[in-house]
């Protein structure tokens, strides 16, 4: 057995050598050794460097000796320009990579807030999460007792947190009031109205502008759960929030 294994590795070794030799044969002339790599250079500038929200600035960059150039992670030409309209002060990063190394350059565009009230600067959300996702994760349904429109303590807490975020993000929201299947169609529309209004008042109390909130009652017309039991009814006695665009 040992003999056989050794025999096969010998055969494979010979074949590998033959392949290398035949590969080498294809080259007409031996290449001269490559010149030493050029040093990589990179510059990035913004014009103007300071704008008002809503205006735009032009980023211009030049690189030398780079094979791989990226502006904030997006691959770009070695030299070029691009128009940007940041909504808040932003530092742009140019990364140039080549055989001679990696060079970075940065340029900042300062954004002055608009005269209209804009949200206080907040930690920018990670680029993978949209406002809709952020909204859905944080502004959750609040639930009510049977035929009641009074907020429960957990609902009050959620709405206090929600008010902060809505205020910071400058969001406009719609509050939907819902009821369970019991009771009368028309009265349940009025009940849903009261539930939406209770949530609205809590947001206003938390500092959200009344203009940023719309309400609608769906009564018992749009249940999220359609079985006839208390568990399901509870799911339907709610105020639900949507982000308006």
């Amino acid at each position: 057995m040992n003999y056989s294994k050794r025999h096969w590795s010998l055969v494979l070794g010979v074949l590998a050598v033959l392949l290398l030799v035949s590969g080498c044969k294809k080259k007409e002339k031996p290449q001269p050794p490559p010149p030493p790599p050029k040093p990589v250079t990179a510059t990035l500038s913004a014009n103007p460097t300071s704008i008002q929200a809503g205006q735009s600035a032009t980023l211009t960059w030049n690189t030398e000796g780079a094979t791989d150039v990226a502006l904030d992670g997006n691959k770009v030409d070695p030299s070029g320009s691009q128009t940007v309209s940041p909504t808040e002060t932003t530092t742009y990063h140019l990364t140039a990579k080549g055989a001679g190394g990696t060079q970075e350059a940065t340029a900042q565009v300062s954004v002055a807030p608009k005269p209209t009230p804009t949200p206080a600067p907040t930690p920018a959300p990670t680029p993978t999460i949209t406002d809709d996702q952020l909204f859905a994760q944080n502004i959750t349904d609040v639930f009510f007792d049977y035929d009641k429109a009074d907020l429960r303590p957990d609902g009050q807490q959620m709405l206090a947190r929600a008010a902060q975020m809505i205020k910071q993000k400058g969001w406009h929201v719609q509050i939907e009031g819902h009821a369970d299947e019991r009771g009368s169609t028309e009265y349940n529309l009025a009940l849903g109205e009261r539930r939406a209004d209770a949530a609205r008042q809590a947001l206003i109390q938390g500092g959200v502008g009344a203009d940023a909130i719309k309400t609608i009652s769906y009564g018992k017309e749009k249940p999220q759960c359609t079985e006839s039991n208390e568990e399901c009814w509870q799911k339907n006695r709610r105020a639900h929030f949507t982000l308006l665009h």
Binding site: D147, A149, R182, G183, S184, T185, E186, Y187, L189, A190, L191, E193, R194, A196, D197, R200, K214, T215, I216, S217, E221
Partner: protein
């Protein structure tokens, strides 16, 4: 049943308004009070032999069958006759007055007081009906009514002729009560996939889709003259009162208000609309506006006010539902918002409907509401002056949205007693219960004014 009868039906039947016969003043609480529709001393025994076919056209037999069924239903459902069972009828079927043997019909076993009979034929695409009403106890001058009808030969027309003849008989023998056989019922149905407004004849025939909103249409209310249908429609942003023209066959422009607007109601003179709106405070309140929708004025300042309805006799009062003290209760106020009175004081009371004579409120009530326990939801009638209450439905399920027939003697309502929500009608004394719809889920019936 061998008593001799006088042949004067009309005076004996000069009745019509529902009167409440109370067993005892405080008996309402014990549920022993009975509501009676006072039909006079006795109800006439009416025989209605099938109409005779008078032509050989192949359409004759099927149209005659539709006609006979419709006529019987209308007369039976009117609740003012004792219908003589067909098994007692003599073998000879009268198609013309000379063929009617009055004595045979007036003596036992039929022992009829009045006989409605006639013939139906189809000639050259027209259906031709002759109908008579004879007082067989008055051989000297037996004819009460003789009518002739001619229309294009269709089942719908055969039904319509039967309705008209039935209304003539009911009006003549009922001391002038308005026939309702040509009235309509509007309602909400899911059968197209979403809630839309539908209509049907009062007996459930001829069901047709009216609106095609595509979102949600609720709370149909037909105008007194039948030309316009107000309803609540869901737009992208809110509920709005919408207006459908039955003459143009489409929804027409109607002013929109802020907030949610729903549950419209017509004054019986057609000049005003009341509705519920959150335009003022974010909470539902009762508003009144011109029939054009212009000049909305706020009448109530409650929290959760809906389902207004005018007193159709005077248009000077509005009944509605408010949750201002907790569970919803029925209230009445003057049409300028003054003089608010709370009419119910327990349970869950919704969906008031004011009787045409202005004396009664029908409403839906979970009377024995308790924590964690829901009793039945039934239709009740309240005598407004005495505030005495009688229970109209007893047969289980959730019963809601009563609406009065034009003659004030029938009530249509929604019930899930059959397993799904369907439209039912009942005589105001609790008899003649009829299921009118079967397909899809059907709710919020509204009976036309005429």
């Amino acid at each position: 049943m061998h008593r001799q009868r006088k042949s004067t039906f009309a005076p004996a039947l000069a009745l019509v308004l529902i009167t409440l016969a109370w067993a005892a003043p405080r008996a309402a609480a014990q549920g022993t009070v009975k509501l009676e529709i006072n039909m006079g001393q006795e109800r006439p025994r009416l025989a209605v032999p099938d109409f005779k076919t008078s032509s050989g056209d192949p359409q004759t037999a099927p149209l005659n069958s539709v006609f006979n069924q419709t006529l019987w239903y209308d007369l039976d459902n009117a609740g003012i006759f004792e219908m003589v069972a067909k098994s007692f009828y003599p073998a000879q079927q009268p198609g013309q007055p000379p063929e009617l043997q009055g004595k045979v019909w007036g003596d036992p076993p039929p022992n009829a007081g009045v006989v409605a009979f006639g013939n139906l034929g189809v000639n050259s695409g027209k259906v031709d009906v002759q109908g008579w009403l004879y007082d067989v106890k008055n051989p000297g001058s037996p004819q009460i009514l003789g009518k002739q009808y001619k229309e294009d030969a269709t089942p719908d027309n055969a039904r319509m002729i039967a309705h008209r003849f039935a209304d003539e008989i009911i009006s003549r023998l009922g001391g002038g009560i308005q026939g309702i056989a040509e009235s309509q019922i509007y309602f909400v149905s899911t059968r197209s996939g979403s809630k839309e407004i539908w209509r049907m004849d009062y007996d459930g025939a001829n069901q047709k889709q009216v609106t095609r909103l595509g979102s949600l249409a609720l709370s149909p209310r037909i105008s007194p003259d039948g030309s316009r249908l107000a309803y609540s429609g869901l737009t992208r942003e809110s509920w709005q009162i919408m207006m459908y023209s039955t003459e143009l066959g489409r929804t027409v422009a109607f002013p929109r208000n802020g907030g949610d607007n729903f549950s419209p109601a017509w004054s019986s003179d057609g000049t005003k609309i009341a509705f519920s709106s959150s335009m003022h405070s974010g909470l539902s309140e009762i508003f009144i506006a011109d029939a054009s929708g212009a000049n909305p004025r706020r009448l109530s300042t409650g929290r959760g006010d809906v389902s207004p309805v005018f007193n159709p006799k005077t248009n000077g009062q509005i009944a509605w539902v408010s949750g201002r003290t907790g569970l919803p209760q029925i209230y009445v106020m003057d049409a300028d918002g003054s003089n608010v009175q709370k009419m119910t004081d327990q349970g869950y009371a919704v969906s008031p409907a004011w009787s045409p004579n202005g004396l009664l409120l029908a409403f839906s009530w979970v009377r024995n509401y308790g924590p964690g326990v829901l009793g039945g939801q039934d239709i009740y009638l309240m005598d407004i002056a005495s505030r005495q209450i009688v229970q109209l439905t007893h047969d289980g399920g959730r019963n809601d949205f009563p609406s009065w027939s034009p003659d004030g003697r029938h009530i249509v309502f929604q019930s899930n007693r059959s397993g799904t929500e369907q439209i039912w009608s009942v005589l105001a004394d609790g008899t003649k219960l009829q299921q009118l719809t079967r397909e899809g889920r059907n709710t919020q019936p509204n009976w036309s004014f005429k």
